[in-house]
């Protein structure tokens, strides 16, 4: 039982670690603390390693990957957002957007740690490889979409400051508009592809496993709406030449739907797609 105790302790610890991380990135963004600037990236990597260790331990103790419930998946989403951000920070050498993105990771991890339950016994179909692909694709998609939403939000904040000519900390610290837009756009394209894969696998595979499967399920409809929103956004960009503010608003609205789909629909409406 010591293994499950360790898992419980780590589950409590993870939001604390993310809170520390967010605090450091917040200090670096809103103030000037050279010491914080120097250590924040190292702390980020340490937290990612700790989080992966937590997930590995969870997998070992409960004998299944942590993808069987919404709150387990939220934890995986949190770490994959953190990893995605770490990649961006290393790649672009700009560490100023971390506060906003890691705030999202903190939110997901906190929700996960608060509500996650140990589930030693899970239905047999959750051991399927196909499920693994479905969930991985969905996770990658949601991670990318989350990143695109944060960058979209930052773009809009900076855009507003620059248009109003009231220059504040957002103007002083954020990278340029073009870079924020490119980040958001790239994340949307990546997320859209991953989401498409997840949906296709879901539609083909789920009816075979679930007796009560229905094409009118709120989860499926919600996901299709999200997919259509992103498709419309991408089309507006390609065909109508939309750029900047308008496409960023679409990215944010679509993310709002993603959030609804993950919370309200998953918890209260869906007939299948919840496993406990």
């Amino acid at each position: 039982m010591s293994g499950s105790l360790a898992v419980e302790l780590l589950a409590v610890l993870m939001p604390v670690l993310y809170a520390v991380l967010v605090l450091l990135y917040g200090l670096a963004f809103f103030g000037t603390y050279p010491a914080v600037e120097r250590v924040k990236a190292r702390v980020l990597f340490a937290v990612i390693v700790a989080h992966l260790a937590y997930l590995a331990l969870r997998t070992a103790v409960f004998d299944h990957p942590p993808i069987t419930s919404l709150f387990e998946i939220m934890s995986v989403l949190a770490v994959s957002i953190a990893i995605g951000y770490a990649y961006i920070e290393v790649r672009t050498r700009t560490g100023t957007t971390g506060f906003f993105i890691l705030l999202l990771a903190l939110a997901f991890q906190t929700a996960s740690s608060l509500f996650v339950k140990d589930s030693p016994q899970i239905p047999a179909y959750l051991h399927s490889y196909v499920l693994g692909f479905h969930v991985s694709a969905a996770l990658l998609g949601y991670t990318a979409i989350s990143l695109s939403a944060v960058y979209g939000l930052l773009y809009l904040l900076l855009y507003r400051e620059m248009k109003s000519t009231r220059f504040g900390v957002i103007y002083a610290r954020l990278p340029n508009l073009e870079m924020l837009e490119t980040m958001s756009d790239n994340a949307v394209v990546f997320g859209f592809i991953a989401l498409t894969v997840a949906i296709v696998i879901g539609i083909l595979w789920l009816p075979r496993v679930f007796q009560e499967y229905s094409y009118w399920d709120p989860k499926l409809i919600g996901t299709i709406v999200i997919w259509l929103l992103y498709a419309a956004g991408l089309a507006a960009k390609k065909i109508l030449g939309w750029q900047g503010r308008k496409t960023m608003i679409i990215a944010l609205v679509a993310f709002g739907f993603v959030f609804l789909s993950m919370t309200v629909i998953n918890l209260y409406l869906s007939s299948f797609h919840r496993f406990h």
Partner: protein, 429 residues
């Protein structure tokens, strides 16, 4: 530290006075040679458009701020315009503190000005050429440059544009990721416009175009800057292909209207358009600001950026002051350690002289077989007396935070035992 400094700066004198005290490189070399000749052991003269300052180590007897000021005014032959009250004079720690403040850019006219550090480097190099650098100034130079470097890396006092033309470049960098892939169009002539274009070129802007009512002017500027000329009547067409527009035309009415911009934005697939309107009266109808992906800024907006950056720089001053305090303490500790060694040496020698003299005087009263013992015993007494004071002095000399106390101890000891001058002079000779 026996450092004496006098100077004239924008704090103490207006431009017409300062300019009379400006020294060219040749004049600096001449003045330094003259000062080294019997007035200072080491000296350096800094002269920029905002200040002329002299720092001298080990002033000769009778040399003080007043006499030095007179001398410097005489060297420039500026007696009529420049008066003694235009100068400030500081000594030792105060002078170092002032030099550090200058290097840090908090004494500059535009706070955080980074040019000054290079000018200081130049001044020290000139002093080296004139052979007026010595061990103390060398160390002072290192500490000064270190202050400058730390201030730049540890604070953001040098960050943010503080001129209108740089503010435009700062904005461009907030809109575009890579200026190398962008192009700019300058409409009209004017100093600020040209300066902005130059800064953009300095930041590696991909291509520049120039339009002017007088085509010859545009051609001359395009030749000088390596750009191409655009017909003044075809400006609106040019808006389609450029990303940055700098407009400074003398025109009673708007040169560019919102409808035109709206039209152009469609043609350029909504690619962001950055317009810097530095014309007074304005060249671009401000209504164009409302169009998506159009970033239009006039003189007021650019001025707001400059003001904001200056304010932000001011908030960094406490950090800068802290760095200066740290470096000042370090320098004083070093300087103090210079005096501790020779002082201990002198202390030891003085007591040894007294001992050997007294032993010599009375040695005949002792039996020959006791004389060796007499020598030994008296030496032991002297060593025991010396032991504690030298230990305490050495501790102060090797650092710690008691530099001021230690300076006082050395000074007191030298006074009590009547050691002349300061220890370092002896040491160097």
């Amino acid at each position: 530290m026996d450092l004496l400094s006098i100077g004239i700066s924008h704090h103490t004198a207006p431009l017409e006075v300062r300019e009379r005290m400006w020294f060219s490189h040749e004049e600096i070399a001449g003045a330094l040679t003259r000062l080294k000749d019997g007035l200072f052991r080491e000296c350096v003269l800094v002269s920029t458009c905002n200040r002329t300052e002299l720092y001298g180590i080990g002033p000769a007897q009778g040399i003080d701020g007043t006499s030095l000021t007179k001398l410097l005014i005489d060297v420039k032959g500026a007696g009529g315009t420049v008066r003694a009250e235009h100068f400030h004079s500081v000594e030792s720690g105060g002078a170092i503190n002032h030099l550090f403040k200058v290097a840090a850019g908090i004494d500059s006219m535009v706070i955080g000005d980074i040019q000054i550090l290079n000018q200081l480097k130049e001044a020290f190099a000139l002093a080296k050429e004139a052979d007026t650098m010595g061990p103390v100034l060398n160390r002072l130079m290192q500490a000064t440059l270190h202050v400058g470097k730390r201030v730049r890396t540890e604070t953001s006092i040098c960050e943010g544009a503080v001129s209108v033309s740089y503010a435009a470049v700062e904005l461009a960098n907030k809109i575009f990721a890579d200026l190398g892939k962008k192009s700019a169009l300058l409409i009209g002539a004017g100093e600020t416009g040209e300066l902005t274009l130059k800064h953009l070129l300095g930041k590696g802007i991909g291509h520049v175009k120039i339009a002017n009512r007088t085509r010859a002017k545009a051609e001359a500027l395009a030749d000088a800057m390596g750009g191409t000329v655009v017909d003044y009547d075809a400006i609106v067409d040019a808006l389609r292909s450029v990303d940055i527009i700098i407009s400074s035309v003398n025109s009673p009415s708007y040169v560019v209207q919102p409808e035109e911009v709206q039209q152009v934005m469609k043609q350029r697939w909504n690619n962001p358009l950055f317009i810097i309107d530095i014309g007074v009266p304005r060249n671009v109808n401000p209504a164009a600001r409302k169009i998506d992906n159009v970033f239009l800024y006039d003189m007021d907006a650019l001025g707001a950026i400059v003001d904001m950056n200056l304010e932000r720089r001011k908030t960094e001053i406490p950090k800068v002051t802290r760095i200066i305090r740290e470096e000042l303490a370090g320098l004083l500790r070093w300087h103090n350690s210079l005096e501790v060694g020779p002082t201990i040496q002198e202390f030891r020698e003085t007591l040894e002289t007294i001992r050997s003299q007294e032993v010599g005087k009375h040695v005949n009263r002792f039996r020959p077989e006791d004389r060796e013992l007499l020598d030994l015993v008296t030496k032991r007494i002297v060593n025991k007396i010396l032991h504690h004071p030298t230990t305490v002095l050495k501790q102060g000399g090797e650092g710690n935070d008691h530099s001021n106390e230690s300076i006082l101890r050395v000074k007191t000891l030298r006074e009590l035992f009547g050691f002349s001058g300061n220890g370092r002079d002896r040491h160097e000779d």
